[in-house]
Amino acid sequence: MCGNDAMSEAAVRAGCRYYFGYPITPQNEVTAYMARRMPEVGGTFIQAESEIAAINMVFGAAAVGARAMTSSSSPGISLKQEGISYLCGCELPAVIANVVRGGPGLGSIGPSQADYFQATRGGGHGDYRTIALAPSTVQELVDLTFLAFGLTEKYRNPALILSDGILGQMMEPVTLPDMADAEPPPKEWALTGAKNRSPRVIKSLYLDVTRLEKHNFKLREKYRRIEEEETRFEEFRMRDAEVVLVAYGSVARICRAAVRQAREAGEKVGLFRPITVWPFPYEALARAADTARLFLSLEMSLGQMVEDVKLAVAGRRPVRFYGRTGGCVIALEEVVKEIKKLREEIS
């Protein structure tokens, strides 16, 4: 299946029955798939009038207790930022998929990783975090989309799937999960009509500033719990690695091949791959700095994740960056060349 279709089916398998979206390349396969698939499973598909309308439809469906999703690509995700901030402030579950493309502005339709800051620092206003999952294969896109629905409901916080223009189009064999129960568990906060209970309110407005502070502290506690329990990463050939490549998403695939090639030539190179970019695996990466001699962050951007790598490494080892941007994909040869350059530097 192609990535976009697989992600869509995984959402359906996870019990998502409400999809609201808007066309934008390179995720138009998602809207087409959902338009056909949602009616098949008794769900609802709406092509909204804009990405803003779509995220607010998600807000509405989530507020009444439904499992809802939207998807878009970079410029459209920018439009959704206010809605995402509201979802976090109101503690509503929702899944938002970003099939990242070249930017800034209208950019290109090629793959990119330049929405990392937007995804991990919270692109909207206020102190909030979205759980951000970064698959690097179509199978992982399926697994992480399925997981996203579980996490978003568990924590009452939006979850972001960071796909990209290549992953969305890529065709790979996948094993799909079984269909989950479409009926979401009852929520003691959802607006279902005040029958046999006192009325409920969904809001993020607290004009009393000490109350808002308290609410923010509550969110912070939640984010701490997510950091403690949901951080995910992969270490490939890391045990005695001197040069550590740090990469996520589709760039990590290329780096994995580069690491294999390097190891075949007897070079001690490893790959550290964050799977959740928020929460970022700072502790595990810091541990790698005990033995590694140099870190190379590789991204399809001007360098965003590299700042988190530097935070983790905390000045103990040099951190370098290599990237391509605008929609250009990093080629294997480029990674190999960079590794060679850096190994010369440390020898």
């Binding site: 807000f59 207790g65 005040a194």
Partner: protein, 262 residues
């Protein structure tokens, strides 16, 4: 100056004839003072909606969506499920809610900025899709919460913070007539414009809003009722003069009546 009857006193009930309370606070309206200015129409419309909810017996399945604006804290006044929404987006939120829970009665409560400025796209497309929801549109021709700026429905020559010499149509455009604008859509079923400037008009407003809710309950489709409402504070007049202003200036431009019926 006689001031009897000022105290809340049920002990004053006459012995010889059973007395009944013919008008008081309806259960879905919380017994709390409101933050609205003296003479503000929001108080009347909030009460109106609460009465309609109770009269139609839908308190247990109604969900209201508050706007951004003076009416942002509707959930502090209504005693049923209410959600906040980002500015202008209540129709989209309502769409998501109604599609997920068609059994719930969903209404939005929106001011002129929320509905007809930032929320125009959501208004048009929710109406065009014919979502079976109800929009209560409180039009007071100004942005109250933020201090009195021009609204899409501010009248020509009306002075506001951002039209200090009065609204100039060649620069700002003409005031928008919302029900007329969405009337051509096949998806819109019941559209009305009412006003709060007299007891008769208030009663008509309540009838129309109730009809709109009934429209939704009966599954007929999208309904919107515009209510011309006084804002004494930012029109810079007394409450009674504000009602006069509605009669003399607003109604001639925004004609009252049912613009579309099912």
């Amino acid at each position: 100056m006689m001031e009897e009857g000022n105290e809340r006193s049920r002990r004053e009930r006459p012995q010889d004839s059973p007395e009944r309370n013919v008008l008081g606070r309806t259960p879905s309206l919380k017994d709390v003072p409101t933050h609205f200015c003296a003479g503000c129409g929001h108080g009347i419309v909030h009460r109106m909606i609460a009465e309609i909810v109770d009269e139609l017996g839908i308190r247990e399945r109604v969900v209201g969506i508050s706007p951004v604006g003076c009416a942002v804290i509707g959930y502090d006044y209504w005693d049923f499920d209410v959600s906040e929404a980002a500015h202008g987006r209540p129709p989209a939120v309502a769409t998501g809610m109604k599609r997920a829970r068609p059994d719930l009665i969903i209404f939005t409560y929106q001011g002129d900025g929320d509905l007809a400025a930032i929320g125009t796209a959501e208004l048009i497309h929710t109406a065009n899709r014919g979502e079976n929801i109800t929009i209560v549109f409180v039009n007071n021709a100004v942005y109250g919460m933020t201090g009195g700026q021009m609204a899409p429905t501010t009248l020509e020559e009306q002075v506001t913070k951002t039209t200090p010499v009065g609204r100039i149509v060649s620069d700002c455009g003409a005031p928008l007539k919302v029900p007329e604008m969405i009337s051509p859509f096949p998806g819109t079923k019941y559209l009305a414009r009412t006003a709060l400037n007299s007891p008769k008009n208030i009663m008509t407003a309540k009838r129309c809003v109730k009809k709109a809710f009934k429209c939704q309950i009966d599954g007929v489709g999208f309904s919107l009722v515009e209510i011309l409402s006084p804002c004494p504070t930012y029109w810079r007049v007394s409450p009674l003069d504000a009602l006069k202003w509605i009669e003399e200036k607003m109604i001639p431009y925004f004609p009252l009546g049912e613009i579309k019926t099912p």
